[in-house]
């Protein structure tokens, strides 16, 4: 009997940041794309921060791929650089002092082969030697996504990747995310209903720090 492969993400915990309280229990299966929706300030970005390791749980537990990375009760956390997460924040945070190619290849885990593949897949080849300052919003978003994917993450965390993006960039990103064979387990924060219906396997609604609804799609 083959053992079940562990969940990509198992989260059951609480975090308080100032007056805001986040309390969630959530799992993401390997290869699954879960859409996180909800009003602004609901805690969606914070949830991503917790998984990425930028914010620690106050109580509860977070495991990635079956390994505990954050034990809230004893306050023991694996630092972000030892987790295999790819985080693409809303404001992308590209490294202005590096070229697009160097940005994509920034991760110590990135291989030249992977970098080249992603540059092509996201139509960034012609920008390889340019700097982020010279890129449009859509191009920058693709660079950020490529950079995260190049680090071979086990879980991809996307914070509103398609907001205010040109049609072409959206299409390229959706094509990439839609390929179930090549994409990692993903948590996608979005306001875009077409993204939810088109890409997600499950929809989780978050309101005021709590999960209010879970719907399979």
């Amino acid at each position: 009997m083959t053992p079940l492969s562990p969940m990509a993400v198992t989260l059951d915990g609480k975090v308080a940041i100032g007056n805001f309280h986040l309390e969630v229990a959530l799992t993401v299966a390997p290869g699954e794309l879960v859409a996180l929706v909800g009003p602004n300030g609901a805690g969606k970005s914070t949830l991503l921060h917790v998984v990425a390791g930028l914010v620690g749980l106050d109580s509860g537990n977070l495991s990635l791929g079956g390994n505990t990375v954050d034990d809230g009760t004893i306050r023991r956390r694996t630092p972000p650089h030892e987790r295999r997460v790819g985080w693409v924040p809303q404001n992308r945070l590209l490294f202005d002092h590096l070229t697009v190619a160097d940005n994509v290849g920034f991760s110590p885990r990135a291989t030249t082969k992977k970098v080249n593949h992603l540059l092509d897949a996201l139509d960034l080849r012609h920008l390889a030697d340019r700097y982020p300052m010279e890129c449009s919003g859509g191009q920058a978003q693709r660079v950020a996504l490529a950079r995260a994917l190049a680090s071979s993450p086990e879980i991809l965390l996307l914070d509103e990747p398609s907001t205010a993006l040109d049609t072409k960039s959206r299409q390229i990103i959706h094509d990439l995310l839609g390929d179930r064979n090549s994409r990692p387990s993903t948590l996608l924060v979005t306001h875009d209903t077409t993204e939810v219906t088109g890409l997600a396997d499950r929809k989780v609604e978050l309101t005021s720090g709590r999960i209010t609804k879970v719907s399979p799609l």
């Binding site: 990425a52 930028l54 972000p80 650089h81 985080w87 945070l93 490294f95 202005d96 991760s107």
Partner: protein, 262 residues
């Protein structure tokens, strides 16, 4: 850049007063300069010696400031440690302490009979007073806060999100510091260095109190100027002009903005 309707006149007027206040001593210096005998004065051995000592001392001090000051600035901003406020005040202390007081304190700490100095002498046969190294120590002491304040200011305005993102990509803390923090900080580091170097170049009180005054070894341009004032005012003016020229040569091209923002 100006507000609609032009710059307010009262503001311009006061700014003009401030500029006059700063420019007046410099203009007076230029006016008194013995232009005809200047070349003669400038090629004297004592002037060349003083220039040499000043250049060496200020550059070495600036280098030490860079190495010590960058981690210090980083820790002050990014590390949440107890007594942070006290440490920050300590860092700023050489800025507000009269330089002679600073030099005397250095003497009590690192002099031959100093708190630590006595062990330096006993165990390593190292004395700092009356040596060029001592002049470097004095210059570093007064210049360090200027660098730290500049770099710290830049670090405060740049949030650490970029570093956090680099960490999620798998870069270790030291790797993040080297590949993300430092490159982002370069403009502020350059500005801080210029400021610290200028301060080190102009240092007088701490140098004369701690390192003493000997031509070719510890007599920097400021010290030589002070000594010349006693006996040879023309030489003093010539030395002042050298200081002025060297300072302007470095400060004018580099000080475009105080704290460079991204």
């Amino acid at each position: 850049m100006t507000t609609p309707g032009g710059a307010p006149r009262a503001v311009l007027f006061i700014a003009a007063l401030a500029i006059t206040f700063l420019a007046l001593p410099v203009l007076a210096l230029l006016q008194r300069a013995p232009w005809s005998s200047l070349l003669n004065l400038l090629t004297r051995q004592e002037v060349i010696d003083a220039l040499g000592v000043s250049v060496v001392v200020s550059l070495v001090a600036a280098g030490i400031v860079l190495v010590l000051g960058t981690p210090l600035a980083w820790v002050l901003v990014r590390v949440n440690m107890p007594l942070r406020r006290l440490i920050r005040a300590l860092v700023l202390l050489p800025m507000v302490l009269p330089p002679v007081v600073g030099g005397t304190a250095l003497l009590f700490a690192l002099g031959r009979r100093g708190l630590v100095g006595q062990w330096l002498e006993r165990w390593f046969d190292v004395t700092l007073p009356f040596t060029t190294a001592g002049a470097v120590v004095a210059a570093t002491f007064v210049a360090l806060p200027f660098y730290v304040v500049t770099v710290e200011g830049a670090l405060r305005t740049n949030s650490d999100h970029l570093e956090q993102l680099a960490a999620t990509l798998g870069a270790s803390p030291i790797s993040v510091f080297r590949r993300v923090t430092l490159p982002q900080l370069m403009p502020a580091m350059a500005a801080g260095m210029a400021l610290a170097w200028a301060r080190a170049l102009g240092e007088f009180g701490a140098t004369i109190t701690f390192a003493g005054n000997l031509p070719g070894r510890t007599r920097t341009l400021p010290l030589a100027t002070f000594e010349a004032l006693e006996s040879d005012p023309e030489a003093a003016i010539a030395l002042s002009l050298v200081l002025l020229a060297v300072s302007l040569a470095v400060l004018v091209p580099t000080r475009d903005r105080w704290i460079p923002t991204r």
